[in-house]
């Protein structure tokens, strides 16, 4: 019998009875062929690979991360709770040391879901990685976490949730936002004032191939991770950089994904997008599982794999080198930028329009963060949508100082309901969540 060199866990939850709609990319069929391939390869019989049943995430788990409007159950389905619960299960097993790494092969995905949730964006309702991470922080006292998002689309939801958190390093590698949804993820987005430099974006030109991805990994991601020294590395393992993906324009391959996984060595991989359900996903998922397990993946390839045809041009390589250079320079400037910004009582504001493509909602947000030398700083979000309705959300960060926390409660208590339909406070210091209307 085959055995793996590392004990790893899998949650496989293809949700064969759930779809956004019958012909949507996020439909029942999505992981069907992946299941066939994983089963046929006999992966679940490998000694050292354990399959777990997903947990079901709770409302409480969501309230550590999101402000759901009007409430959690209105913007999620059971499927979202299972998907997040699958990630949570893998995370718990890793922290219980029952496995050294794990992969939550679940759907629907979550990395486009931001802190405030009015509906679905980019097929995502709740951010399954963030729900998992905040649960693990609460249950196991994990502090420093790095998320490496290798989905082809910018992980704008995860970026938003951790924008102000200097203890969470968010690195996203994706197809350049000028050529793909959601249109963000430029190097100039490097985190909020108290957390400048702990968001790193690596937008890659269309047609980037294995060579380019591994270059970015070796020259930017791994060195930055080395310096950040996270306790936990999470990989948002979207699989839509594949050359056969129908909704993106990259040239990555199954073996490359396996190679990336094997070098990145994430503790937890969570499936995100990836819609080449027949030609790519079956092979990539098998490759990722074998790589996580420390097993030989050199014979994994797509039936039509032809590395010559996929090779990237020299001008693409040059562009990638430039992106890496910029990102490294921002990363180096991070500590200095944070020092400069973290002045007591200084308020930083940004106003944004957020489009929920899946549910066709336009949200306007005004976000305020308190500059703080002691903690990540109090965050408040004034949000309204084109459907009418306006809310105020107050986020007291996990390690908030007394002043920020007090300021948070004062804002929550003193704001009148004349202007807002609901007011929320998420107090991560006590793991509490309140709202009034």
């Amino acid at each position: 019998m085959l055995s793996s060199s590392e004990k790893i866990g899998l949650v496989f939850f293809p949700a064969f009875d759930w779809a956004i709609d019958p012909t949507h990319p996020e439909r029942e069929e999505r992981l069907l062929y992946t299941q066939d391939q994983v089963f046929e390869e006999g992966i679940l019989d490998i000694e050292g690979i354990v399959e777990y049943k997903p947990d079901i995430a709770t409302v409480k788990d969501i309230q550590r991360v999101h402000f759901c409007v009007p409430d959690e159950l209105s913007v999620t389905t059971q499927s979202h709770l299972i998907s997040a619960g699958g990630a949570k299960k893998i995370g718990s097993e890793v922290l219980e040391r029952n496995i050294s790494r794990g992969f939550a092969l679940v759907r629907p995905p979550g990395h486009h879901a931001m802190r405030v949730v009015h509906g679905a964006r980019g097929f995502c309702n709740i951010n399954i990685e963030a729900v998992m991470i905040e649960y693990l922080r609460q249950a196991y006292g994990v502090d420093r976490v790095a998320i490496v998002d290798t989905d082809c689309h910018h992980g704008d939801g995860t970026q938003d949730i951790y924008w102000h958190d200097p203890d969470t390093l968010f690195i996203s590698v994706h197809q350049d936002g000028r050529t793909l949804y959601p249109g963000t993820g430029f190097t100039s987005e490097f985190g909020g004032p108290n957390a400048a430099g702990t968001t790193i974006n690596l937008p890659l030109p269309p047609h980037t191939s294995e060579e380019g991805f591994l270059y970015v990994l070796d020259n930017a991601i791994l060195p930055i991770l080395d310096e950040f020294k996270p306790q936990l590395i999470i990989n948002s393992a979207g699989q839509d950089n594949h050359y056969s993906d129908p909704i993106t324009d990259m040239r990555f391959c199954a073996r490359g994904y396996a190679e990336l996984t094997s070098r990145l060595k994430p503790h937890i991989a969570v499936l995100e997008g990836g819609y080449s359900i027949e030609s790519a996903l079956p092979y990539m998922n098998v490759g990722i599982i074998l790589a996580l397990a420390g097993m030989d993946y050199s014979r994994i390839s797509e039936p039509d794999f032809d590395p010559e045809r996929l090779r990237q041009g020299p001008e693409i390589s040059r562009k990638i080198e430039k992106v890496v250079e910029e990102a490294l320079s921002l990363w180096k400037q991070g500590p200095e930028m944070r020092r400069a910004n973290r002045k007591e009582g200084r308020l930083f504001r940004r106003e944004r329009h957020i489009f929920y493509d899946t549910d066709r909602i336009i949200e306007v947000q005004r976000e305020t963060v308190r500059g703080c030398p002691e903690c990540a700083g109090l965050v408040s979000i004034d949000s309204r949508t084109d459907r009418g309705g306006r809310i105020l959300a107050v986020h007291v960060p996990r390690k908030a100082c007394g002043k920020c926390r007090e300021a948070g409660y004062q804002l929550y208590d003193s704001t009148g309901l004349e202007e807002f339909d609901r007011i929320f406070i998420q107090d991560r210091t006590t793991d509490e969540y309140f709202s009034r209307k």
């Binding site: 019998m1 085959l2 949650v11 496989f12 939850f13 293809p14 949700a15 064969f16 009875d17 759930w18 019958p22 012909t23 439909r27 029942e28 069929e29 069907l32 062929y33 299941q35 066939d36 391939q37 089963f39 046929e40 390869e41 006999g42 992966i43 019989d45 399959e51 777990y52 049943k53 997903p54 079901i56 059971q78 499927s79 299972i82 129908p246 027949e278 079956p282 092979y283 098998v286 074998l290 097993m295 030989d296 014979r299 994994i300 390839s301 797509e302 039936p303």
Partner: protein, 568 residues
């Protein structure tokens, strides 16, 4: 009248059942060196002086193939696999003549790379040179498209008598298990065939011609003729006979835990509302995982003859067995000796049993009677612990739909049925430990043979259809048919049921035995570029293990009610 015969590791048990009663029963020590004589002698004893026509059937369960596998006493088998991209098939090497060849088929059954006939021809030459007479051929995804396996089989037919193609054994997706299963099937084939033909000949020479059925690992029966096509199904049928013997005592509306407490081991099985639970993929034999449908059983090294010890002031029972109980002339104290001390022994040497427990009692600083109680307690607690783990494991089994995850069936045993020698004495303590109503099977000494006698046929059919490719395929049945765009789940279920019915009849089932059950019925719309191009349909239907219908009431009358002995 029907006959049930169960050849176990230690004993061979046989019963003759008719008119709602056990008419004859035999129990002889199994001669592992000569199973044939052992079986024939039993059959003769059961049938002596009966008119040949009076016997409707005989069901046999033997350890023949299981023993041969355990002893590595099998013929050399040639194995040829074609894998394509994926895990290196060299990892699944089995036997001395294992060859990996080109060719690949993808998950939808499309040919990616053709076979190279030349490679197979060369292997055929090697087989001839090395006198390899039987072979197994396996290709990845052959259950989606058996083309490569059939081609390999065709080429190898010139050098081999028997070539087993993997897809014919099971429609389950699992390439490494398919390799093991096909190898097993080819390896046990001659032994199985020779043995049962000899039994039939021997009976025939004595003027007895009975239809012979063979018990399978999943607790179902198949006719001897059908078993020649799938001899691997009869491997590890050992626990199946006993588990079926417990079936008449299980209630139809609750979940039941079955404990078969033997001398060396205890086998644990579970019924969900009287349906014996099966292994999700297949059984495991001598460390090799297969696709052979098998009852889900868990075996622990603890039984009536397990060795009792005190190590570091702690009482231990098992896992070793060092011969029979001292009451029966053994040299080491056992739980059976404890039963003797408690006055629950049979015909044996009570003094020897007391002598065995005495040093243990001294070591623990308690009386001999208390020691006996402690031993019994510990043995029961271990069995209950293992049973709980097994139920937990069943309930943790992953499911793949939202509906199943939210409302999935959870096994919660509400009754326990105990078989085996010490059963009546262990049952009350197990009931106390679990708080679950526990009963010992009466006639436990032949319950296994009764189980075999009353077992009905089981069969399964898996149908896979891909309307974009215009194909419906039941690989185990060598069935494939072109289908149109209108082929849907309902039609697939109809077709699969038809195939199953035919298969059951072919395997010797009578019409009234056939009780179809849908295990899987899934239909996926295949969407490409936002248009639905076809349906991907997966259907599995089966008949579950159970008792033949004409004997369902009979079971009650045979056993009458079950009376528990006084609580220990």
């Amino acid at each position: 009248m029907i006959i049930g015969l169960d050849v176990g590791g230690t004993h061979t048990d046989g019963v003759l059942i008719g008119n709602g009663a056990i008419l004859r029963q035999v129990k002889v020590a199994t001669d592992t060196g000569n199973l044939f004589d052992c079986v024939c002698a039993c059959l003769e004893k059961l049938t002596v002086d009966l008119p040949p026509k009076a016997i409707r059937r005989a069901v046999l369960s033997t350890t023949l193939t299981t023993n041969a596998i355990a002893e590595g006493n099998l013929e050399k088998i040639g194995v040829v696999v074609s894998a394509g991209p994926g895990i290196d098939p060299a990892n699944f090497k089995i036997g001395s003549h294992y060859f990996c060849v080109s060719g690949s088929i993808d998950h939808r059954g499309r040919e990616v790379q053709p076979l190279r006939e030349r490679e197979i021809e060369e292997i055929a030459d090697i087989f001839i040179a090395d006198n390899i007479r039987r072979a197994a051929v396996i290709s990845k995804f052959s259950v989606r498209n058996p083309k490569h396996e059939l081609e390999m089989a065709r080429i190898l037919a010139r050098s081999c008598e028997v070539v087993i193609p993997g897809h014919s054994l099971s429609a389950t997706l699992n390439f490494p298990r398919r390799i093991n299963t096909a190898w097993l099937s080819a390896a046990v084939h001659p032994l199985h065939k020779e043995f049962f033909e000899a039994v039939r000949q021997s009976l025939k020479s004595k003027g007895v011609e009975i239809p012979i059925y063979v018990l399978k690992a999943d607790g179902g029966t198949m006719s001897f003729e059908a078993s020649l096509m799938a001899p691997e199904q009869t491997i590890f049928s050992g626990p199946a006979a006993s588990v079926l013997g417990a079936l008449p005592f299980a209630s139809p509306d609750v979940d039941t835990l079955v404990l078969d407490i033997g001398g060396t081991t205890t086998d644990i099985a579970v019924f969900a509302r009287r349906a014996p639970l099966l292994e999700p993929l297949g059984g495991e034999v001598a460390g090799s995982r297969t696709l052979v449908r098998a009852l889900k059983t868990r075996s622990i090294a603890l039984g009536g003859d397990s060795c009792v010890d005190v190590i570091d002031a702690e009482l231990r029972v098992g896992p070793r067995r060092l011969g029979p109980a001292m009451a029966y002339g053994g040299g080491h104290p056992t739980p059976t000796d404890a039963l003797f001390v408690l006055g629950k022994g049979g015909k044996g040497d009570l003094e020897a049993a007391r002598r065995g427990l005495r040093p243990i009692a001294r070591n623990l600083g308690v009386s001999i009677e208390d020691t006996a109680l402690l031993i019994l307690d510990l043995a029961c607690a271990k069995i209950v612990g293992a049973a709980r783990e097994m139920v937990e494991e069943i309930n943790l089994r992953p499911v793949y739909t939202v509906k199943e995850l939210l409302s999935g069936y959870r096994v919660q045993p509400a009754e326990i049925v105990v078989l085996g020698g010490p059963a009546p004495h262990f049952a009350p303590r197990i009931e106390e430990l679990t708080g679950i109503q526990t009963c010992a099977v009466p006639l436990w000494h032949v319950a296994n043979a009764i189980g075999a006698a009353l077992a009905r046929n089981t069969s399964e059919v898996t149908l896979f259809a891909d309307t974009e490719r215009g194909l419906a395929l039941a690989p185990g049945e060598e069935f494939s048919r072109a289908v149109g765009k209108d082929f849907d789940l309902e039609k697939a279920l109809c077709l699969a049921s038809e195939l199953l019915r035919a298969k059951c009849i072919k395997a010797g089932a009578s019409e009234c035995e056939i009780d179809l059950e849908v295990v899987e019925s899934n239909q996926f719309n295949m969407v490409r570029d936002y248009y639905t191009v076809g349906r991907n349909i997966r259907v599995q239907v089966q008949t579950r293990p159970g008792l033949i219908s004409e004997c369902r009431d009979l079971a009650g009358s045979i056993f009458n009610c079950c009376i528990l002995p006084d609580a220990v």
